[in-house]
Symmetry: C2
Subunit: 222 residues, 2 copies
DNA sequence: GCAAAAGTGTTCTAGGTACACCCATGT
DNA sequence: ACATGGGTGTACCTAGAACACTTTTGC
């Protein structure tokens, strides 16, 4: 039941920063640690990489096991390996980030029954290890990748209004955008297409529903 | 003399892609492997991370030990961890890349006397492990970071001509650039400053020598 | 004087930014 | 009828792209 090596080997983990937008806030999924170190503190989901799985598979598995979130596309963020980042032993962590649409946040109770919650990125609690650093870097990366990718659409359900999409950009970039310019750019880039449907949800003109251009129903992005 | 753990731990290494420009070519530093696997094949410098050093320190140390190259600023590139990327055991590698100026390429003989050589990135030999993949990714990253950073200047000696600098851009981007627009952009960005000196090296008008703006003599970039 | 690289401005185009009003609905 | 968010076009400005000739030197 012991594994031995001729030279010292560090432990390798993955940590995953999952973003969503709820209640007009950019939020991150955290779990409460049930055992030391940092017992009771909030931390990113993640865990040890198994010998037979790739890093991304490990991240995906841990995320599903600990939070019930699956089917998210993950991007590698950075690898953190300061010798003292974990007080127990040398732990190197490969961080990933991803986005879940607000309409399917079924974070089923974690298998190990640990507490699980979404936090506004603006008001995070004290985080375990160097996780605050990881989240900060993930935010920066998310903002940097917004233009020139379709990440923003990953926050959206299949059909969405342009106002909703604009709100995603504004929350991530942290600044207001001009409505007309925003729409013009999307149309010019050919990113969205009209579904022909509308949504009415208040005392105002109904909003047209769009989808990411290129996929009708189910299909590949890009 | 054996290290034991309750759970299996992968080995963790760093690999370093060092670029330079020599003979009007973008080149990469490789070492010849002296032992299996891939004995005799060319590979990136790198090796196991020690327990008490950070990942970047490990990369820097391995680079110095194996190639004699030091004082290079390294950027983390990506972490590669496919389960079968090393036939011996599970090895996860954190890849870094960096740039050395052509005027101090003192690649002193490696401590372990392995062969060491610069290769044109266009004509690489067969590389060990997934190192071809790593080099490809490093090239893309280098090109992507060219604008909006001062990486290009790391290829240059302290003083350089604008034609030399332009050649760096052209080699990395793989396309010819307009001389006037190139100079205009550098000046507009305030990146270079005239040293007042000239270089004459042929039957033509001497070229003015510039340096990276902001540092007179020795000083910090940015 | 000729070959060879250094140096230098202007015009055009496209993309980004600023900006204000009418429209369709629910109550 | 009024409050609420949805939807639309034009003018300006700036950054990037295209483009050709003169200068200074070594031989």
């Amino acid at each position: 039941m012991a594994y031995r090596y001729e030279y010292p080997h560090p432990a390798v983990t993955t940590d995953i920063v999952v973003f969503t937008i709820r209640q007009d806030e950019l939020e991150v999924l955290l779990i409460e640690r049930e055992s030391p170190p940092f017992q009771g503190a909030w931390a990113l989901p993640g865990g040890f990489v198994n010998p037979e799985e790739s890093l991304e598979e490990g991240a995906r598995r841990e995320l599903a096991e600990e939070t019930g979130v699956s089917g998210v596309s993950l991007e590698q963020l950075y690898t953190f390996g300061e010798p003292d980042r974990d007080p127990r032993e040398r732990v190197i962590t490969v961080a990933y980030y991803g986005v879940v649409p607000a309409d399917r946040l079924e974070t089923r109770a974690a298998s190990d029954a640990a507490a699980l919650a979404w936090f506004d990125v603006q008001e995070l609690p004290e985080l375990a290890f160097d996780h605050a650093h990881i989240v900060r870097m993930a935010r920066e990366r998310l903002a940097a990748r917004l233009d020139g990718s379709t990440i923003a659409f990953q926050f959206m359900p299949e059909m969405f209004t342009l106002s909703d999409l604009q709100r995603v950009y504004e929350l991530i970039l942290g600044q207001a955008l001009d409505k007309r310019n925003f729409r013009k750019k999307l149309v010019a880039a050919g990113l969205v297409e009209d579904t022909g449907e509308e949504r009415r949800d208040g005392a105002h003109r109904p909003a047209k529903l769009y989808r990411l251009a290129g996929r009708r129903g189910v299909g590949a992005i890009r």
